[in-house]
Symmetry: D2
Subunit: 145 residues, 4 copies
Amino acid sequence: MAENEFNSILGVFPVQLHWGDCDPAGIIFYPTYFRWFDAATWSLFAAVGYTAKRMRAEHLAMPLVCADCEFKAPAEQQDRCEVRSRIVRWGGKSFVVKHEVVREDGTLLAQGSETRVWGRYLNGPGSPLKGQPISEELKALFKAR
Amino acid sequence: MAENEFNSILGVFPVQLHWGDCDPAGIIFYPTYFRWFDAATWSLFAAVGYTAKRMRAEHLAMPLVCADCEFKAPAEQQDRCEVRSRIVRWGGKSFVVKHEVVREDGTLLAQGSETRVWGRYLNGPGSPLKGQPISEELKALFKAR
Amino acid sequence: MAENEFNSILGVFPVQLHWGDCDPAGIIFYPTYFRWFDAATWSLFAAVGYTAKRMRAEHLAMPLVCADCEFKAPAEQQDRCEVRSRIVRWGGKSFVVKHEVVREDGTLLAQGSETRVWGRYLNGPGSPLKGQPISEELKALFKAR
Amino acid sequence: MAENEFNSILGVFPVQLHWGDCDPAGIIFYPTYFRWFDAATWSLFAAVGYTAKRMRAEHLAMPLVCADCEFKAPAEQQDRCEVRSRIVRWGGKSFVVKHEVVREDGTLLAQGSETRVWGRYLNGPGSPLKGQPISEELKALFKAR
């Protein structure tokens, strides 16, 4: 995946690993990384003005097409980490977010990506979604300066 | 709490404890019991005709007022259990569901209750909820015969 | 429950409600409050020196006896809250933590409690637990000054 | 990924989508698929004799190297599905499990894979893991007949 060819802003989403996010091996239960990715993407969009409140008011959503993650080193309970997120590709109606989970000592724990559709509920929240063309205005919001 | 003074039907909701529902102590992470209670209540209502689909179509919901649980013995990974659920109280616009989690060897692992409002979304899913009077027809559906 | 008769320190644990912690009603899925309570208790103990690392090294744990929560007002996606936690009772081998979830506008969203045993794994992590007498030294760590 | 070149047995793991596994869009919150994948893998291993109890007793574990999923169609609350799982590759100390999530009407909702290490805790549960060579005996257990 091309590294930031779009010169995207970097979202930084702080997380901490809790007891209940760990499994009997004493390390992170892996779907937790995907929960963090999802929250980090919402945070990235909020940072450019697309808050949860606005997304809801405008009947917007960003359902997933696919997601993947490589696990490099296990997070342990109370580890503090950052999810560092960038948009690395814009398609006509979809986009790709790349995420890296970095522990506070600088260790890369995991990296992965989400491909999402930019969609609108046809009849309000909970109704079927339809992909929307991604405008230049939307892309410009994520441009690093 | 009065034991089934309303002669309520018994809902039986099978569950199994998975790796990811356990904590580093190797036993169930306790909020999992509440996840099971919630799913068991939905299953109990589905059994009398109030399926998720119908609840959604009729803009009904059952938000929580309070919940509690006593933990008697820990569930371990791959334990098979049943959540046994009954309605033990009907109020004007609310009701109480009592739940027991029983392992397949008959051991009671946990017991608790949920108090819920019988509510309707004023403007479709996601909009504010308003408590609805609980009709005799609704109560009758849960009567054991 | 007696309000802070032990003059306990107050733990403050910041949380934010994420998309995946909400249900189809668009509000917090209630077991999320218990996930927050659990993490807040671990944070409170870490604040007085019982970090996750130390708990693990000394084979200590704090399994639940019971938990309860009252839901006052629903949290919505991206709401920022604090879980405010105090120890409100010390028993011989158990203790009670009271938690309040307060949104940044000051609204009390939920309040509840956890009763926990102070326990030690007899043969290392994952082995059976035995309740330990709670020492005066332990209690003193939580005394507000 | 080669389709069952190893003629692996098929694991079938039944799941149902619950209220709390859905997001405000009223459909499955995507990390739920990965929770299902994890449980389905444990179920597949249990089916050939490697139950959770045995894994624990023999200090075995199967930590993740990577995971991915494509989302084809959204699951809705109370949908009944099967996770169909096969081992599609054996490496020296790792293996790949392919999963398909199929709704009871036959619709493929999601498909993905997990790459895992076959590992042993050096000093009991919770201690560091070391990859173990995968024996012919282990592979033979998964051979369809």
